[in-house]
Each structure stands twice: as structure tokens, then as C-alpha cells.
């Protein structure tokens, strides 16, 4: 035994590397982790990831363990033969810890969600952000948020400043609901013309009810099993006649767009061509039309507009009109003549004075197996019931009168109809598990204030005086250096079941920087690797269109972690080689 004067530093160092410290640290980390998993069961994965595993104090605890391992290994220097297993195991664990911290600091982890036929370049990152987009000056401001890691705080009162000229805008989040329940209340005292009807469908024990709004592209119709329920407006008698007539069969083609320029007193019909992006001159006018896209069954999803199926359930055509006044884009729906007034996405910014109508064979009649409520020009309602083979039956539709569908086993009635309906959403919180988040935001500038609820990935626009601000609560996005296009997605089930046996995505990766284009098949357990990024098949969505979910990961720490694994294994192997003689 050496007896030397030891400094405080040496004593501390010795304590750092001591066995009791090691055992204590191991147990402490174990306890924290155990608590973390219980916390997760209550508040959800996102919360625990942010609050525990990625928090500074937990990383500090791990770093402390690393220090303990290092000191314990160094203390025994110079190492003898019998120290080899011990030193190797400790170095290995140290490498794993360093690799882990490197990966957490420098790595990228996110998801790519790509509908079939679409191209995506932005990763959805785990972190949630609040986005503010004042339309003047048109800049986008992104604020990282942290509400889900303290999901039990429902009144965070956190303020974000949008630094624009004219004094700036303050956004205050005064409510955070981790698992919001949203109930819709519809009243008849909206100021604007907005027909809304509440329909109840009843099949034996089952009852379903739905609010339909004829002027809302997403809410004019609903599906219940095989039955479609639609609410349409017939602006003219001619339209009403067309809607109630039996469907004509065997019609093909993409339909015809009719454009009327009231100022020029010109009306032209342009068939929708099979090819896009070709400019067509509209005879006798200074206008030109360019068709951009055609949908047989349009649906609006989080990823934008998609084509749900080949069936003509909701035909629509997208085109631009170019004239002396400028350019304007249109989206015209065959089943909704009233939407043709929607120009691009901003209703108030009409550039070109034109009336647009889109006629498609699908609106020559109505879809089969459907209940179609039609508002007549006289504001009264009629119901058109259609059968499988194009049979139709028309009746006047009165509130609270029960109707039986002649070809489907189904009874239905309406119990409220408001020509000027107004929907209001009521938010309440169910529990603290992060499942369906909702934020209440107050936007304020020097003179005005506006309030709104935000749910995930649904932008809402608010008006502050003359300034319009679009707000959104969504996942942070990160731009990949490459783009990925989903060419095809397939899923195979176990024979005779609906259980997925495997699924795969045919993708095309394009790297414009390097001029590389790769076509690959990504399957479960068989990722695509490119420039340090790995693209893994992690999931899929079947509705409304087949959509693949790829997880994308770049982790520079992985080689260190793997080296650590190998070192630990080497340590264990040497343990058996350099073992002390058998204790007895």
C-alpha cells in the first residue's frame, strides 16, 4: 500500500472511477428509464423522447457514466494482461456512448410521406413547429415548439414574435390540448349564402349522421359503406333537369370546359385534351388556356390534391387562363358548378372576369347507389335516389320525414337545413396523451387581435386589420439534397386474410447536384442507401390513395456504435481466454 498525499482533485477522480459510483450510476439510470417508460404510457412517445431521453440532464447522466468508465479504466493503467477484458468492455461501452451522442447531435431522422405518383423532397421531422406566414411581406417564420414534452400544461401562455415591419406580430399560445375532441356545432345564422343540411342514415341498429355543405369542396358529400350521400345545388332549371335525369351510359372522355367572358360577350367550349401544359388559344379572345391536370376522383388531403380512384366520383380539371390582365389558375369541378368560381386558392383575388363551367359525363347524371340532395333554383330541396344500374327516383325532400331508399336497405331523413349555415368548432381536451393536438393562438399587432384554434397540419388564415396571416402547427420539415418519387406501392396479404405479409415501394431517386437518377425497390428490411441517407419502408396509408411512409435516417455515429459493439464482444471473448484460475 502506497501512502501518499492525495489532492482533492485526485480524491474526486478516484471517487469518479470507483465501483460504488458505477453501481450507483447504473441503478440511477435504470430508475430514470423505468420512470420514463411509465411516463410514456401516460403521455405518449413524443413527450418522453423530448422530456427524458433527449433532455440535457439525461445526456449529462450518460456522459457521467462515460467519465466513470474512462476513469475506472485509466486508473488501472499500466494495464496488465488480466485487465484486457475489463478495459475492452469499458472502451466498447464508451464508444457506444460517444457514437450515440454524436448521432443525436449531428444525425437527421425524419419521415417521407409520398402518395403514389408524387415526388417529395421534404422530410417531416419529429419536432413540432408553429409557422406564421404574413402575406405581406410574404415571408415565412418558423418557431420550434415544445408543448408535447409537457403535455400536462394546458395553458402554456407562450409568446412568439414575428419580426415584420409595422411593429411586428405577437403570437400567444394560451391553450394546448394534447388530445383534443372537436365537436362541430352548426347554426343557421351565418351571414353568407352557405347551404348546409344534416342527414341521418339508418340501417337497422346502425345510425350515422353527417353535415353536408354544398359549397365546401370537402364537405359536399360523404360515403357510408357503399352508399354515397351528396348535396348539390342546381342554379338553373336546366341544371336541375340534368341532375335528375337518368344517367346516360358508355360515355368517355374528359369532358368539356365552357368559358364565358361577360365583358366580351363570348362563350367558348374547350374539350379537355389528353396532354397537359400545351397552350391553347381561345378563338376570338385575347385569352389562352393551359390545362395542368385532370382528376377523375379528386380529394383534398394533407399532401395536397390527389386522385383517389379511376372512378368518375368527383371529376375535376385544373387549368390556367392567361390574358391581358395576368394569369389565373382555376380548379373546376364537374359535380359542383358553384365551385367554378374558386380561382386558385384565394377567393377574393379575381384577376380575369370569366365564368367557368366544366361538363363531364359524370354530371350528366348522378353516381350509382347514392342519395343526392339537390337544392332547386326555388331553394327547395329534392332527393334523387339512384340504384346500382342507373335507376333513379326523385322526391321532394322535407325535414324530419323518413325516406326509404328503393334499392338499398337503408332509411334516411334530414333534421336540419340552413341556407346560411355556419359551422363552429368546439374544442375540449380528453386526456394528456399526445394524440390529437390542438393549439389556441392569439395573434396581435399594434391595433388588432385575432384568435383561432390550430390542429396539426391544417393551415388557418386570420385577418389582422388588412394584414392576412396564415398560421399552421405542423412537424418541422427538412430539405433533403435529393428528391424521391413514388412510382408504385404494393402490399401483399397472407392468403385468405387481410394481414399484410409484406409491402414495398418502387421509387425514383433524383440527385440534381450530381445528376444521378436511381430507380429502386424499397422493401421491409431492405432500405435504399444514398449519400449517407438510408430510406426505409416503415409504413403505408391506403386511404384516400396508396401512400408510402419511408423513414429516413442519416447517422454519423453508427460506425462508432458498431465499433463499440465489436469491442465489447472482444472483451467478453478475452474474458474466457484470460480467465483467472477457477475459483472454488
Amino acid at each position: 500500500m502506497r501512502k501518499t498525499k492525495t489532492s482533492l482533485f485526485q480524491k474526486t477522480l478516484a471517487a469518479m472511477g470507483s465501483l460504488p459510483m458505477a453501481a450507483g450510476l447504473l441503478v440511477t439510470i435504470a430508475l430514470v428509464l423505468a420512470w420514463g417508460t411509465l411516463y410514456e404510457a401516460r403521455l405518449g412517445t413524443a413527450a418522453v423522447q423530448r422530456f427524458v431521453y433527449h433532455s440535457w440532464w439525461f445526456q449529462l447522466l450518460l456522459a457521467f457514466l462515460g467519465l466513470n468508465l474512462t476513469v475506472a479504466a485509466l486508473e488501472r493503467y499500466p494495464w496488465k494482461r488480466r485487465h484486457i477484458p475489463f478495459v475492452l468492455a469499458h472502451i466498447g461501452i464508451l464508444l457506444i456512448l460517444i457514437g450515440g451522442i454524436l448521432g443525436a447531435r449531428l444525425g437527421v431522422e425524419g419521415q417521407l410521406i409520398i402518395p403514389e405518383g408524387k415526388t417529395e423532397q421534404f422530410l417531416q421531422m419529429p419536432r413540432m413547429v408553429l409557422v406564421a406566414h404574413p402575406l405581406n411581406p410574404g415571408e415565412v417564420f418558423v418557431f420550434p415548439t415544445n408543448f408535447e414534452s409537457k403535455a400536462w400544461v394546458h395553458e402554456p401562455n407562450e409568446t412568439f414574435r414575428v419580426p415584420i415591419e409595422q411593429g411586428g406580430i405577437r403570437l400567444t399560445v394560451d391553450r394546448y390540448f394534447p388530445n383534443a375532441r372537436i365537436q362541430e356545432e352548426v347554426t343557421g345564422d351565418g351571414g353568407l349564402e352557405n347551404p348546409g343540411v344534416h342527414v341521418v342514415l339508418s340501417r337497422g341498429e346502425n345510425q350515422e349522421d353527417v353535415w353536408l355543405f354544398s359549397r365546401d369542396a370537402e364537405r359536399f358529400g360523404a360515403r357510408s359503406g357503399e352508399v354515397r350521400v351528396l348535396f348539390l345545388e342546381a342554379g338553373t332549371k336546366e341544371e336541375y333537369r340534368r341532375l335528375t335525369a337518368p344517367p346516360r351510359k358508355n360515355e368517355r372522355g374528359r369532358g368539356v370546359v365552357t368559358i364565358e367572358f361577360p365583358d366580351l360577350k363570348v362563350r367558348r367550349q374547350i374539350p379537355v385534351p389528353l396532354d397537359f401544359n400545351r397552350t391553347i388559344v381561345i378563338q376570338g379572345t385575347p385569352y389562352r388556356i393551359t390545362f395542368k391536370d385532370y382528376f377523375t376522383d379528386l380529394a383534398v388531403t394533407r399532401q395536397g390534391v390527389v386522385n383517389r380512384s379511376d372512378q368518375p366520383n368527383n371529376p375535376a380539371v385544373a387549368f390556367t387562363l392567361r390574358g391581358p390582365e395576368g394569369v389565373e389558375s382555376f380548379l373546376a369541378f364537374a359535380l359542383h358548378p358553384e365551385f367554378s368560381a374558386i380561382h386558385g386558392h384565394q377567393q377574393d383575388q379575381q384577376v380575369i372576369h370569366a365564368h367557368v363551367a366544366y361538363a363531364h359525363f359524370a354530371n350528366a347524371g348522378l353516381p350509382p347507389d347514392a342519395i343526392c340532395l339537390v337544392q332547386k333554383p326555388s331553394q327547395e330541396l329534392a332527393v334523387v335516389m339512384t340504384g346500382e344500374n342507373g335507376q333513379t327516383k326523385v322526391e321532394d325532400f322535407q325535414m324530419n320525414k323518413h325516406y326509404r331508399h328503393p334499392w338499398l336497405d337503408l332509411e334516411f331523413w334530414g333534421d336540419a337545413f340552413y341556407p346560411k349555415a355556419q359551422g363552429a368548432q368546439k374544442f375540449s381536451n380528453q386526456d394528456d396523451e399526445v394524440r390529437q393536438e390542438a393549439l389556441h393562438v392569439i395573434a396581435q399587432d399594434e391595433h388588432d387581435a385575432a384568435r383561432t384554434w390550430l390542429v396539426r397540419s391544417r393551415p388557418v388564415s386570420v385577418m389582422l386589420g388588412r394584414q392576412e396571416v396564415v398560421l399552421e402547427y405542423r412537424k418541422a420539415i427538412w430539405k433533403l439534397p435529393v428528391t424521391i418519387k413514388l412510382i408504385d406501392f404494393h402490399k401483399a396479404d397472407y392468403p385468405g386474410t387481410q394481414m399484410a405479409a409484406h409491402f414495398e415501394s418502387d421509387v425514383e431517386l433524383a440527385d440534381p447536384e450530381r445528376g444521378v437518377i436511381l430507380k429502386r425497390k424499397i422493401t421491409m428490411n431492405n432500405p435504399l442507401k444514398y449519400r449517407g441517407f438510408s430510406f426505409f419502408q416503415s409504413g403505408f396509408l391506403e386511404e384516400p390513395v396508396e401512400t408510402t411512409v419511408l423513414s429516413v435516417r442519416k447517422d454519423p455515429g453508427t460506425p462508432l456504435v458498431y465499433a463499440g459493439f465489436l469491442t465489447v464482444i472482444a472483451g467478453v471473448v478475452t474474458l474466457f481466454i484470460f480467465r483467472k484460475p477457477e475459483e472454488s
Binding site: 441503478v27 417508460t37 397472407y494 385468405g496 409491402f503 416503415s538 429516413v552 458498431y562
Partner: protein, 530 residues
Amino acid sequence: MMRRRARGICAIFSLLVFSLLSAGFTLSPHAFQTLRRLAIQHNGRVKPFDTFARETLRFITGSERLGSEHPVQTVLAIVAEPEGWQDRALIAVPFVPLREKLGLARTTTHVSYNHLVETRTLMRMLPAIVEKQGRQEKLSMLEQETLDAYERFVALSGLFTQRMNLVPPATGDAWLPVSEHQAIQPQWTGLLDALRAGRPEAIEQPAQALSAILRSANPAAVPAQWRLDLELFYNDLSPFHVARIFYLLAAIGLLFNVVSKGKVLTAAMAALLAGFLMHGAGIVMRVVLGGRPPVSNFYETMLWLPFVAVAISLIFERIYRVGYFGLASAVLAMIVLVLADSLPLEPYLSPVVAVLRSTLWLTIHVLTVVASYGALSLAVGLAHIYGWLYLKRGPRHPALRSLDLYLYRALQVGVVLLAAGIMLGAVWANASWGRYWGWDPKETWALITLLWFLAVLHGRFAGWMNGAAVALATIAGFFLLLMTYYGVSFYLVGLHSYAGGHAKPIPPLLIAYLVTEAAFMFAILRKELL
């Protein structure tokens, strides 16, 4: 050779069956053999009718047999004469709050088809649940159990309406229901009429005819005869029940051996070895039949865990020849095998979810991790022997010194396997999810268990844990192991949850165990401190 033996055993078995018959009709041995060999597609696999009958009865009623009658007999009776069965309480309702919802007494375990149809309470609960599922909301335990009960109802109604995929398809891989296939109808109704008529000798001919026409629909789609025979052999033998009996004998012998100092060691070890071989043969048969690695669902891990524990104990017994390892592993294996059959787990070769489908790394990962559970459970068994001797014979008992070493060795093996298993899991996760570590509850709990046992090893190495303390810490570590292995799969969420099922109420047996164990630990601790 296997086949002849299989036939022999089947013959003995069917004799047994006929002495115990209770249905309205009987099958001749020959008809019975023909009918149970019919190939049927069910739950994503083509299997013999025998297996289908067992699985379906177990799924609906919770047990493979109604009384002593053979499942094939019962299922055929249900198919042939549904009217008689619609009023019998067949559908299991294990969840007490659901019984109350359905208007049953708290003690009523089963409900009849007609009761569900007439009251419609169950059906009325479904739309709300399905809607909730559609919104991707988490279902409560009651809602999960309601769906389960509904699925049992559907399975039973499937028997009533003859929705059984017995007809091999000409093309594609989805077999066709026998009730919807015109060409098969004469033979099928012929068999049903014969069954209803109830004369054993009259059933033989239609059974043969049906078997022939089904096979001729597409002989290539029907599994090879040896596969069907092997599966029947496996069903009849139930190798794990046999193994369990050997383990019981071994445990009794080895216990006696501890008390009487080495008199019956050889015989007891022979019983252990016999159990082990039977256990291994059972696992091999499952691998051959399922065409997949031996640990693809929770039930199979409960076969693999004790198998590894016994294997390790046999290796240690070769080195030390003491009987303690054997005793610990025999008791452990017996308990785990009994539990595997009595817990509400699915013992069948059902399909595996897509992410768990055969990758080499995954297989090695699961085998290693479950093997580490086996080794650690063996250590827990040794810790109990240590504690028992410590309490009965006092801290100075000579066997304790060597038991301390054995416990240490078993812990070392377990810790090395667990660390390796976690690392292999990381390698697999990196290969298939793109991240080697994601703080998933299962990974986290495996890490917690590892950290605990590492702390124990360090504590022993530092000299501030004696044998009793290590034994106590090992038993405490078993609680963590139970949480990792069982608790996480059923009570916490996460990626690994597809290996388990939805949450089930905590079984009273588990609570009783925890209380007993706590009392045992307290007794050791008191003696240690005094």
C-alpha cells in the same frame, strides 16, 4: 418410419376417443382419419382439418375440447347440425365488465350464439368501436374485449354457415369456401347427411368421396401427405405436455437428491434429459411445420426460454455435477410450460406480422434475448435454492459457498447473452428501421434489466454484496425481467407490441406470485440483517 409411428399413435388415440364419445353421432376410425386429414386454409395457412378444429374450438370457447370429445368430432357436429348448438353457451367472455355489459352474471364464463343474436347488445356496441378505430384512437380494454368476443361470434357463425375454405383454388392462393363451390356440393351434402343420420359405417364412404374430390380440385395446392401426417402426429403427441411430465419427475428426483445427498442423481438427470429431448423435438417439429424460426410469437418464446435454461443447466451439470442447476431448470421449465398453456396465448402457427418476417438478424436477436431470459431465470431458480437453504439450514451451510459460485456463473451467462441480444437487436433495428436505438419501451426495459444485473455483478466484484445479497438482488431482477418480457408487451405501448397483444387484466396468479415472492425475500432479508 415417422409416418408409421404417427399412424400407430393415431390409432391408439382414436380408440381412446371412441370410448369417450358424447356427440349425437360417431365416426368410424377410418372416417375419423380421413376427415381430420382434409386440408383447409385458415388464418393464412393450409393445415389439416384436425388443427383447424382445435384452433377454432379454442378460439371460440377458450379450450380445445368440450368435455372429452375430440375437437374434430365436435366441429363436425356443429357444422352438420347447427340448430342444436345455437343455444349452447359456447362463446367465451373472459372479461368480467363485458359480462356485465352483456347482461350476464359476473360468474357466467360463456354465452350462447342465440343470446347474442337475440339481445343484440354486443352488436350495438360495435359501430362506436369501429368508428373509434377509424379515428385511430386508442381502444379501452372493454372495447378490445368486445371486438374479441365479436370475432368469436363470427368464427362460430362461420361454422354454422359452413364458411370453411376446404376447396383448393385452380389459380391464385385463396382457397374457396366449401359452401359456395358447386362441383363439391354433392359430396359435401352427402357427408353432412351421413353425419346427421348418425350411423358410423355410413359416414366412411362419403368422407372418402369428399376427400378425393377436394384433393382432385388442385392436387398441387394440397400440402404433401407427410406434412399433414407430421402435423397430426404433433397434435396428438403434444410434445410439450410430455416434456412437462418428465420435468416434473426430474424436479421431484432432484429435490429428493438435495435432501438425501446424491442418491437419485443419475435417474433424475436422465428424466431431465428425456424432457429436454422431447422439448427440443417439439420445437423442431414446429419449425418444420411453420416454416419459420422457432420464436415468432409470445407462446413460442415461452417454449424457447425454458429450453435454453435446461440446455445451460445440462452444460453446467456436466462441469459441476451437483444437481442444483438441474433442479432449478426442471422446476422452471415445468412452470413455464404449464403457464404457456394456461395463459390466454395463441399456441398455433399463425402468420407473423410483416416486420417480423424472417430476417436472419431478427431471428438471431430474438433467440439470443429469449435465451438470456432463460439463463437469467435459471439464475433466479438457483437464487431460490440458495434462499431456501439459507432459511432452512442457516447461513453456514456448506452448500451455500458453491451455490454462490453457481449463481454467479449463471448470472454471467445471462448478462453476456442479454448484452449480446440487445446489441443484435440494435443491429437488426439499424438494418430494418434505420436506427439502432429508439428508446422503445421494450428496448428500454431490456436495458434496465441489463443495467440492474450489471450493477449486481459489479457489486459482488467490489465485495459489498455477499451470497445472500446477490440472491436477493437476482430475485428482484426477476421482477424487472418479468416487466421486460411480459409487462411491456401487454401493458406498455411500442414497436415491440406486435409481438404480444392488447392489454389484458393483470392475472390474480401474478399478484399472488408477487406477494409470495416478496414474503420470501423479506424472510431472507430479516435473517441477513439480524
